[in-house]
Symmetry: C2
Subunit: 330 residues, 2 copies
């Protein structure tokens, strides 16, 4: 199996990406095609010992930054690592693609170059959502801010398959984010989506309230990309705010400082729970090939975990399963 | 000044409501008209010493429960405490109304009986949002799940006035909940609302991300009622989940138990920060008279605080200010 990796994406530069690739060839046994500025990549690779036949380079001089308008950047920068990498994927030069670069550009490139699975109306970003009772998945994390009920149905189908095959949860509980649990609650979008979802063979547990999301009420959290973004960012914001307030309060007296020290392992395990690096990247579901967006600030561990995830994505044949299920349910 | 209080609303029965009213007459100097089952109310009142001329009763035998379809309940239960109370308000038998009963029924009754201010398109629920840096207000907290851009504009105007006059924040910073801070981000609803908001004389600080809400980035958090409900409930859910996980972790070893004890004051001050009772109730903005929904599980302290809030609402002439500003800005 060969994974195509964007060597230039991410805030930490190609050092971390290259190290993650080197570790992946050793630990995961995959072949890797790194796309990007060949000179720089070669310089980084020279620092490591690794099985040389397992890493190839593909030159791409341009870089798409996070500030660029995604669709425009994809059209203009034909020689960027994202465009060259996705073209290689679409020409079967590798089995999957990962990038820690601009989410918008990866999505736009995925849609233009790799293209959607037949009958999929919109591709969506799925992401791991750490709850107090293990991990859940949230779909859509922000690819589609204006949705139709049919999109939410397809997000649920794709998310359920991915959750079962990659996160290993049997018959994952699918919940629709709403303002109340009763049928008939919500805005017009979720009311119609509810009616579509209850006709499927998914393990649809109905509407879920935002209050219950952090407690792991559903394995697959379904919502439009606007809501998904709000849920993810508010979760992050609350965790950060609560911990920094607690830290500030703890530092106010010597007794509380000692108390804080005594609780350090507990507080640390909490921070680890929220650590994106543990969970790999966010798959773009609905495309014809496996594409995963790694976190922008990925270090080599996060890159290696994202490569492992794409490997799984390929091995478990998730794309064909999605295609078959979409045709059954729509 | 006379405040009309729904004696039968709330999960804790009329005991807490009556006690809150008695305390209010003593501490706030207001007159009160309690609406509900007269026999029960009289029985409760008999337990207290208070200035008798300051509390009147108005009989209403029926009660609207939280499970009833709000609009239907308002039409059918003409002799319910909510309907009788709102009729009394609309007939100038008092200056404002509070209830800890069904939010939907208070809203439906407010719209049917008290009616909207001229040129207000939708009434909204505003609520206090406790942040790490003091309190903000969120509008709409759930009254309108399908919104037009103009509604969001009006929510912002109403929220800004209420925040300035009742929470005492000068020139409150108004933020629009969105998935990014840049202009042009978001779904079609918020994009258009942004354009309307930037033309007003509000202190509009632009789009705000959900991540920054708990950190007090805006004084008035503007969003549709669907998003508002998600933000409020997720905030609550995160706080509850983090604290119960922390509690669970703390109880696992004797060292961490001692650490937990040493941090008790810090943890307590946190819980107090999130305590609804400190903040009174949620005003329904856009109606012709002051109407406030108190929390369903209000105790006498929360009821007294809600009464104080309505008193303020009346004294600061918020309704006339809203009417004047809406006509200026729309």
């Amino acid at each position: 199996m060969k994974i195509i990796v964007d060597g230039m994406g991410g805030d930490k530069g190609c050092q971390e990406v290259v190290k993650g690739c080197v570790d992946a060839t050793k630990e995961l046994g995959v072949d890797i095609l790194i796309v990007g500025q060949e000179g720089k990549l070669r310089e980084e690779l020279a620092k490591y010992e690794y099985p040389h036949e397992k890493i190839e380079l593909l030159n791409a001089e341009e870089i798409i930054s996070n500030d660029e308008e995604p669709a425009l950047a994809i059209r203009r920068k034909k020689n960027s690592s994202i465009v060259v990498g996705l073209n290689a994927l679409s020409q079967d030069k590798g089995d999957g693609f990962i990038s820690a670069g601009s989410t918008g550009a990866i999505l736009a490139g995925g849609l233009f170059i790799v293209k959607r699975i037949n009958n999929i109306e919109r591709a969506a970003i799925a992401t791991v959502y750490p709850t107090m009772k293990g991990i859940s998945m949230l779909i859509d994390a922000g690819a589609n801010v204006d949705c139709k009920p049919e999109y939410l149905l397809q997000f649920a189908i794709m998310g359920s398959i991915y959750c079962e095959k990659i996160l290993g949860k049997e018959s994952p509980r699918v919940g629709l984010v709403n303002i109340g649990t009763e049928e008939g609650k919500g805005n017009s979008l979720v009311k119609e989506a509810y009616n579509l979802l209850k006709e499927t063979n998914l393990n649809f547990i109905g509407n879920i309230e935002a209050r219950d999301i952090p407690n792991g009420i559903a394995d697959v959290i379904v919502c439009d990309g606007f809501i998904g973004n709000i849920v993810l960012k508010l979760t992050e914001g609350m965790a950060i705010s609560i911990f920094s307030k607690l830290k500030e309060d703890i530092s106010k007296s010597s007794i509380s400082k000692i108390g804080g020290l005594m609780l350090k392992p507990q507080l640390k395990s909490f921070v680890k729970l929220m650590d994106y690096r543990e969970y790999g990247g966010a798959p773009l579901l609905g495309l014809k090939k496996p594409v995963v967006k790694a976190h922008g600030s990925s270090d080599s561990l996060a890159i290696k975990n994202a490569i492992k995830q794409v490997k799984n994505f390929v091995e478990k044949d998730v794309i064909n399963l999605i295609e078959a299920d979409i045709n059954k349910n729509t």
